[in-house]
Amino acid sequence: MTLSRSLRSAGYTLLLVAVGLVVVYPLLWLLFSSFKVDNSDIFGSLSFWPRKWTPEGYLQGWKGTGQYDFGRFFVNSLALTLPTVVLTIVSSVVVGYGFARFDFPLRKPLFAVMIATLMLPGAVLIIPRYILFTGFGWINSYWPFIVPAAFAGSAFFIFLMVQFFRGIPKELDESAKMDGCSSWRILTHILLPNAKPAIFSIGIFQFLWTWNDFFNAMIFINSTEKFPLPLALRMALDTSTAIAWNQVLAMSLVTILPCVLLFFLAQKYFVEGVATTGLKG
């Protein structure tokens, strides 16, 4: 009885491993191929394992194809992503606090509008935004990413904060108010220390989406010196004629490395964040 049960459990684990391998196969392939010597080893054999390990793809790929190396593009990506993430957190916390803890005229209809904007297709906004931002002189800068973030541009994150604040007992606020705390102090001293998981979730998701955002980057940024990583990667793919694939693959891996690291460091917040709000993806 117990033997057959442990056999079944082992079989189950085996199944999970097998399916898991299929799922992560493309990423493993990327990892190993980026250390291969040349194209013939990448395509010539089915073997994962490089015939000969070499960091050449990384060393050569890092130099880029033109005047800028990947260090530059990495810094660009950070300059675009970090302010966007920080401002998203701040604005979502403040607005979420307003919706979760205060009563004001039109609160219900405004909340409904906020939820409705969850469904607003980004593809519909892109053209008028481009025209608007051209008028502001924001094309070829990171403002189209940063400024909307400062104004709580993503309803997902407001909603996440509202849900989270609602889960914190109101008695905490009430007693602080009795002690003469202002509403701002209640937010910063009582609620925020309790809201760390939600703040982490917002930060992580906004980081990933902004870091990987290709569509908006392609539209709003047009000079190579300001390219974030996704644009640089595509440039590397398109401009090199006799492509050294190991370089492209190595830089592809470098591009997603911060995302993968973040994921493993903060995995519990991912699953929590997805489960509480049903984020896209």
């Binding site: 189950y12 684990t13 199944l15 999970l16 399916v19 898991g20 799922v23 992560v24 493309p26 990423l27 392939w29 990327l30 395509f43 089915l46 403040v94 607005v95 307003g98 205060f102 009563d103 004001f104 405004l110 509008v113 906020m114 904007t117 297709p121 593809a123 519909v124 906004l125 053209i127 008028p128 935004r129 481009y130 025209i131 608007l132 909307p148 400062a150 104004f151 709580a152 407001i158 990933l208 990987n212 290709f214 569509f215 996704p230 990667l233 595509r234 793919l237 694939w245 592809s252 591009t255 997603i256 995302c259 993968v260 994921f263 493993f264 995995q267 997805v274 489960a275 896209k280 993806g281």
Partner: protein, 296 residues
Amino acid sequence: MSAQSKKNYIGLLYISPWLVGLLVFQLYPILSSLYYSFTNFDMVGVPKFIGVENYRSMFVDDYDFLPSLSLTFVYVLMAVPLKLGVALVVALMLNAKTRGINLFRTVYYLPSILGGSVTVAILWRFLFMQEGTVNGFLGFFGLPPVPWLSSPLVALFTVSLLTVWQFGSSMVLFLAGLQQIPQELYEAGRVDGASRPRMFFRITLPMLSPILFFNLVMQMVNSFQEFTGAFVITGGGPMKSTYLYVMKLYDEAFQFFRMGYASALSWGLFVIIVFVTYLAFRSSGSWVHYGDGGKE
């Protein structure tokens, strides 16, 4: 009275950043694009009002519009059910108390964090090349190579496989739903001698239907807007067989700077998405079961 109005004022103050953002970055763009869609506008001159001409020429003059629209529908009909199916099956697999199950959940979720990244699209291009690894495996098993990217019939499927691979978010939601189904229901089912498939269709699926519905709507809305995958993997080819709606929109707006016409296209997409979502909500009464009797 004064305390009440002060309270009102404070709440509005806290949400004011969002209100400004709503007006400037969402409401104004949406409305202005409606206006642009009735004009001829190339970003250089001033928009020139031309009535419904843009909408008319979509159907009459533009030979790419209808093919693009229909292949986008095919793409959505292919990618969304496949993705939700895979997400559900994997969620069922991971809804077990085996040792190390959290590690498996993490690994299975990994592809989804890379979302629409260029890296993943590049990866797809490599794996599915004529001489790529996937065909290599097929050859290993004695199967003929498949023209994954070079045949107009197969390319769209290859692109949708990329979407399917990112099943993680839907899976996590299914998993959360599965864990909320009361075990008593299954025990009662076993007492009644119900078979496993029967319990799946009579207990699991109805209990999951609100989540299935949510996933369905979100994934449909996202899939209609797919861009990066097709753009990087196939560039819309071969023979425009993966020239999705948003790629068409992108070309009109940012390659040819026909902003008026592109705005009309984007409003077309908006109307389609709203309509499909509306249909989903309309149909939900008959197949979505809410635990609280439908109050949600």
